[in-house]
């Protein structure tokens, strides 16, 4: 959307008049209302129903967890003030004093036991997302009102991380509340969070008001309205006109025009990865042929081919041109600097002659043809990346036919093994979780390889990662995870492409917005401007 030069003064003039009108209104009342345009569709009011960012992000205004994962992905106290490991399989969590639920009930250890119990025993899939977090918990007990003891099945150093995903609900005398009861709004959602529930319309809006009794001090905003606007252009329009104060997930191409209209833009490298993944297990990879169109044995089983293709990807073009700079070239699963990443893994500029030589060495001096599949419109830059890769690989003789399909179709076909090579995206609570989902060998417990559709298997790596994940949270563990990642990526089972940025825009009412690499949209991250107070 471009506006001619001659109309801009008019628009600014109108804006100034409007601002003048607003300043007459009692500033206190106006200023403390926060309106957020979000792409996150709240699907349910049940905080344990589905482990999707959509629900977690919005419900975290109302509900809290024992542990909070901060923007450096470190574990910080929330409803629990401290925790320690009593033995290999026993943990003790001390709870915060003087915390009240929105209905006035005191928060105690019984509520924690109840919440874990609800996930373990009441909910049936598709509320499955949370069950994987509590699977390792054998039993929970409450020695006193402010202490909780967890007994785990075997060693579970990631317990605090897992608990940083689980919302604590209030224990009911009448037993568990069902998802239907919670969605119906009777009784209303009852958490300990900084905002209390006011109203919800599925796919439309979500409203909360300030919880004056919040343990962490008086929350900044008196009323917060989330408007669910999935269309990015509509979110940008809502922010440009001052209809909302914050808009999340702004397309990079709209950033300059937003800035011009006086909005501030914040961005952070997302704790996620977009990558190219190969089928490395089957003798034939679907869609892979020689230059004449005849099918050939799966070339991706040869590490030289995978390395050659990785060498011939121009990540800088993707980041600079496609993402307009709102992204980071990727050499590992999370942006460098987050826990579990390795400083040794850095991206390199493309080396086409070397890549071509390596391909020839592997027995493909003339290259081959592939169908490169990917979802369209799911991740920033997904479709364009397919085309950029096609151009790069053409230089080493690999003909690429990009195949972009809707995300749901992509998932179905990828799971059915219909693709030989594809572009995908992945995220996780921590680097080791993502690396094990992408590259670990699928096991019977189901905690490995959920994104490993290429069926890559490297027992030495599995063992290294397993050992690393057994270490207590801290530098030693992070170092071991980084080493395991370095080791496995030498084998090039995937080609890391980029970490896109989460880009948020906000207006004058907001002084700063603390971006979170997991892409959360909450009122707590927004600090009000001083003059607005």
């Amino acid at each position: 959307m471009k506006i001619g030069k001659h109309v801009r003064p008019i628009a600014f003039g109108a804006g100034a008049i409007l601002m003048g009108l607003f300043s007459v209104a009692p500033a206190d009342v106006v200023a403390q209302e926060l309106r957020i345009a979000t792409s996150y569709k709240l699907m349910t009011l049940d905080p344990h129903f589905a482990n999707l960012n959509e629900t977690n992000s919005l419900l975290s205004q109302i509900y809290e967890r024992l542990v909070y994962q901060d923007e450096k992905l470190e574990m910080k106290p929330s409803l629990a003030t401290s925790w320690r490991r009593l033995s290999e399989t026993r943990w003790e969590f001390k709870l915060r004093e003087n915390v009240k639920f929105h209905n006035g009930a005191a928060f105690t250890s019984a509520d924690v036991v109840h919440s874990i119990d609800r996930i373990q025993n009441l909910l049936k899939p598709p509320s499955g997302g949370y069950q994987s977090y509590v699977k390792g918990i054998k039993s929970v007990s409450a020695p006193d009102a402010l202490t909780v003891t967890f007994e785990t099945n075997g060693s579970l150093p990631s317990l605090p991380l897992f608990l940083s995903s689980i919302f604590i609900v209030s224990k009911q005398a009448s037993g568990f509340l069902t998802t239907e009861q919670l969605n119906g709004g009777t009784p209303p959602p009852n958490g300990t969070g900084p905002y209390t529930f006011k109203n919800w319309r599925s796919g439309e809006s979500f409203e909360v008001v300030r919880n004056d009794d919040y343990w962490g001090g008086r929350p900044s905003w008196s009323d917060v309205t989330f408007r669910i606007i999935e269309n990015p252009a509509a979110r940008v329009a809502a922010l440009s006109t001052g209809d909302v104060d914050i808009a999340d997930f702004i397309p990079a191409r709209d950033v300059p025009s937003l800035k011009q209209r006086g909005a501030t833009v914040a961005n952070i490298s997302a704790a996620r990865l977009n990558f190219v993944q190969f089928d490395v297990a089957n003798d034939q990879a679907p869609g892979v042929t020689d230059k004449a169109g005849k099918s050939i044995p799966n070339p991706f089983r040869d590490v030289k081919v995978r390395r050659a293709l990785a060498m011939a990807v121009d990540r800088n073009v993707i980041v600079d041109k496609i993402l307009s700079g709102f992204g980071t070239a990727a050499a590992q699963v999370f942006p460098n600097g987050l826990p579990g990443t390795s400083a040794n893994l850095v991206t390199e500029p493309p080396r086409y002659p070397e890549a071509k030589a390596l391909l020839a060495e592997a027995g493909y001096p003339n290259g081959f043809n592939v169908v490169l599949a990917g979802p369209a419109g799911r991740y920033p830059g997904d479709l364009e990346s397919l085309q950029a890769i096609a151009q790069s690989w053409a230089r080493i003789g690999v003909g690429v036919q990009p195949l972009a399909v809707p995300f749901s179709v992509f998932n179905t076909k990828r799971a059915a093994g219909e693709y030989g090579i594809w572009y995908g995206g992945g995220s996780g609570e921590s680097a080791d979780i993502l690396v094990s989902a992408l590259l670990g060998t699928a096991n019977s417990q189901g905690d490995r390889g959920s994104l490993n559709y290429g069926k890559y298997s490297n027992p030495a790596f599995d063992e290294m990662l397993g050992k690393a994940q057994g270490i207590e949270v801290g530098p030693e563990r992070y170092g071991a995870i980084a080493t395991a990642t370095e080791f496995v990526l030498r084998d090039q089972p995937i080609i890391p492409l980029y970490h896109f940025d989460h880009v948020f825009g906000y207006g004058k009412k907001v002084a700063t917005y603390t971006m979170h690499p997991r892409g959360w949209t909450t009122a707590m991250q927004a600090a009000p401007s001083t003059e607005a107070k």
């Binding site: 899939p125 598709p126 499955g128 994987s132 408007r227 269309n231 509509a234 749901s408 998932n411 995206g425």
Partner: protein
């Protein structure tokens, strides 16, 4: 008698239509992809979780059995539970109905009044400059794609001038158990742009029809006879011209209104108007089959009902229809 036969005929038609449509819709959605990948978090879910979710949603059953379950759900009136929202699908559609209904109703009112007025104005002065302006601009209004029109309306009406909000429903008030935007001034302001976006092409369409009809009727002998008899222009217009051009216009109003109720997808998406069209497109993207089926069924019913209504209006408007049935 005529009324009864029209209604029974329509009812049997409706049932057949809904049956065929449900079958096509069901198989269509089924073949697009597996909804289970939208229900679990595909980036973190384990195969075991996917398997359990599949069983819970009944997606492990053969298609014909899933269809039978669906028919059962229709019979109980719930249309099944939404895979995504975990609420009865029909309830979700009902929730969005008032938003779409008021949008379509206002758009159609504006379109009919303005379209008819402009069309008759042009038709009674064929060849005049006014006629040429109306005819030419109607061509533009009809050929502009609705997403572009919507974007321009937002650009001009919201971003540049700040007169109207760029999207959303604004404040609503409750009447008869539904939320309505038109009952509050804030809601009315929110209505303006999307109503215009929907109305503009229809104004053009109706204006062209009305113009063509008027030109034709004005040439007829009975009109000339009326003029010869010395009737006033006003009387000729309201008592003779308008009734004679009304049939095609009533038809097109009925059809377009049905279309707006069901498929105002583009306008609803761009203006973030939480209506049925937006629900349909969201649900198709998420492969939320129960909601898609509930929406489609509602659409079919709306179309059949509107067509029936149009037929009944024919009976009232055109004496010849009354005689022939």
């Amino acid at each position: 008698m005529a009324l009864l036969s029209v209604i029974t005929g329509r009812l049997s038609q409706a049932f057949l239509l809904i049956f065929v449509m449900s079958l096509v819709g069901f198989i269509g959605i089924h073949s697009v992809g597996n909804p289970v990948y939208n229900v679990v978090n595909i980036e973190t879910a384990t195969p075991e979780e996917i398997r359990r979710a599949t069983i819970l949603l009944g997606l492990d059953q053969p298609v014909w059995r899933q269809y039978l379950v669906f028919v059962q759900n229709v019979a109980t009136g719930t249309f099944g539970t939404s895979y995504i929202y975990h609420q009865p699908a029909f309830g979700l559609v009902l929730d969005k109905l008032s938003a779409t209904f008021e949008l379509a109703l206002f758009a159609m009112l504006v379109a009919t009044v303005l379209g008819l007025g402009l069309g008759v104005l042009a038709g009674t002065r064929p060849g005049s400059p006014l006629d040429r302006v109306i005819v030419t601009s109607s061509v533009y209004a009809l050929s502009v794609p609705s997403f572009w029109l919507s974007m321009m309306l937002i650009l001009v009406g919201a971003v540049m001038t700040g007169w109207f909000p760029p999207g959303g429903r604004g404040l609503t008030a409750n009447l008869l158990g539904f939320d309505w935007s038109f009952l509050t001034s804030d809601g009315l302001r929110h209505l303006v742009l999307p109503v215009l976006a929907l109305a503009i092409p229809n104004i053009a369409l109706i204006a062209r029809l009305a113009r063509a009809g008027t030109v034709e009727v004005e040439r007829m002998e009975f009109t000339r006879f009326c003029v010869a008899k010395g009737l006033s222009r006003r009387r000729i217009l309201f008592h003779h011209t308008l009734p004679n051009i009304s049939l095609p216009i009533v038809t097109i109003v009925g059809l377009q209104f049905g279309g707006m109720l069901a498929f105002a997808v583009v306008v609803e998406s761009i203006f973030a108007w939480p209506g049925v069209g937006k629900l349909l497109i969201d649900s198709i993207q998420l492969l939320d089959r129960p909601v898609v089926m509930a929406t489609l069924t509602f659409t079919a019913i709306a179309f059949v009902a509107l067509n029936t209504l149009v037929d009944l209006v024919y009976v009232v408007l055109d004496p010849r229809v009354r005689i022939s049935t």
